[in-house]
Symmetry: C2
Amino acid sequence: MKQQMVIGIDIGGTNTVVGLVNKDGECTENISFSTKQGNSFEDYFTIFVKNISDLITKNKDVEIIGFGIGAPNANYYTGIVENAPNLNWHGTIKLKQIVEQAFKVPTYITNDANAAAIGEMLFGGAKNMKEFVVITLGTGLGSGFVTNGNVLYGYSGFAGELGHTTVVKDGRQCGCGRKGCLETYVSATGITRTMIELLENKTVESELRNYNINEITSKHIFDAAKNGDKLAIEAFEFTGEMLGLSLANMVAITSPEAIFLFGGLAQSGDFIFKPTIKSFNENLLTCFTGTVKILESGLKGNMTAVLGSAALCWNELNK
Amino acid sequence: MKQQMVIGIDIGGTNTVVGLVNKDGECTENISFSTKQGNSFEDYFTIFVKNISDLITKNKDVEIIGFGIGAPNANYYTGIVENAPNLNWHGTIKLKQIVEQAFKVPTYITNDANAAAIGEMLFGGAKNMKEFVVITLGTGLGSGFVTNGNVLYGYSGFAGELGHTTVVKDGRQCGCGRKGCLETYVSATGITRTMIELLENKTVESELRNYNINEITSKHIFDAAKNGDKLAIEAFEFTGEMLGLSLANMVAITSPEAIFLFGGLAQSGDFIFKPTIKSFNENLLTCFTGTVKILESGLKGNMTAVLGSAALCWNELNK
């Protein structure tokens, strides 16, 4: 009998990563290709089909029983990706339907943060939890909520946009058109904006003064912090302060058992966790004291996003 | 055969209201008595048992199949009321267990906002909704969330404290010990604080200048607004602005189909709804446009809190 597996797909702004994942969350093989193929979804989808068909052909001993896809603005209910930021796909893409027609297996889609949450539940640190949140700290800030053991999609299918809650009234301009969104402070781009402000407003020495403003990345800030750079450490402290306040407010609404930090910035260890937990505790309503843990994601390795997408599919097939 | 009914109980800071409620949400009889009986829970509970026993004895043709109780800080999971604000009960009260021992019927407890949400779902405007929120605007601001058709209690049992999310950093001191909580701006006491600030900071004429500062209530502000009092109208506008912003942020997390405003301040009609909806629309993330309604509670009459508590019980018995 062939081994049953699902295909997990993470469609990011730069690359699409595809993996074969078994029911224990092991990714046995993976491929990746550029998401920036041509100028339309059709151009992209041609490459998508070619690459994945090759992967399936190569694994003759495996039965593919479903696809799980994480993509920006992907709506679980409708199966549609609409006006995806950072993708040169235009208008309304019926992604679920198109993939099902091409590959003849059940396909489920959602955004990357919801996929990460299901990954955490099936394969990571939330295995026995029914109430938790995953915060993805990448270029932006995403969030996936699980309540009563189910992903919270909400009425629209777009629940979990913690990154677009206001943390500073009339604060930084956000790509979404609003001002002061959490994402403009807490994300790879957010901490970079903070760093640039600090470099401009303060006279303290910093190794980051050796870079052009537009070259600075969150990676540089992390490296500088590890070297003891005071301004870089201050940038992390400010980022954690904003995140901790926002998480405390979020807990007052949903009261999770744990909050998992996921993605690049979450791998900065104490530099991000310490100020976040400090600010979180200072701002938390008393009745929640001791009820919530702030943890690193339990999904390890470099296939975490693929595991999340695969988990979405396994979770649906197990229903 | 006797008609089956439940007893719904709303334990407020001042009065306890008790009603017999059938499965269609009709309250056929009600009584009330002071919550401020003596100096302890034991003193109060003696009167509680006496009054409710009399009500049951009087209704010999009714079979009481359960109790639903809404009380401050009541925890659905544990059945305990702990450190209830505004009640002179001390420490930990095992309310569910004590009532079940006294009356020998299943008893369920939760806070008033969650009870209102279940009332809205069973008997009010949310009959066919699986994703909605009820905001109770009384002395404070409570909120009850329903996600995937279930009340969101969270891991702690205390989810739904929207009133204690920060809306102004370092803003007004809140009774909870934090600063700038939504409740300090949006509630009967919140609008009164706003009114007093306006009277102090502005020179505009207002009929509320005829009162002592400590006499002013939200009722006076509503009456003045109806008379065209500019400062009173401004107080409502500011209150709505804060509420609308906060609701927009909340929608980004939970994406409900509807938000019901419940309680005294919600009955101020356009004075509160217009500025709230304006601010809500200005602050809402684009992907939620047109997906959320802001509505008045569908529970009518003066027994709404009792209906909510009764609905909690019916909902559990129907499970």
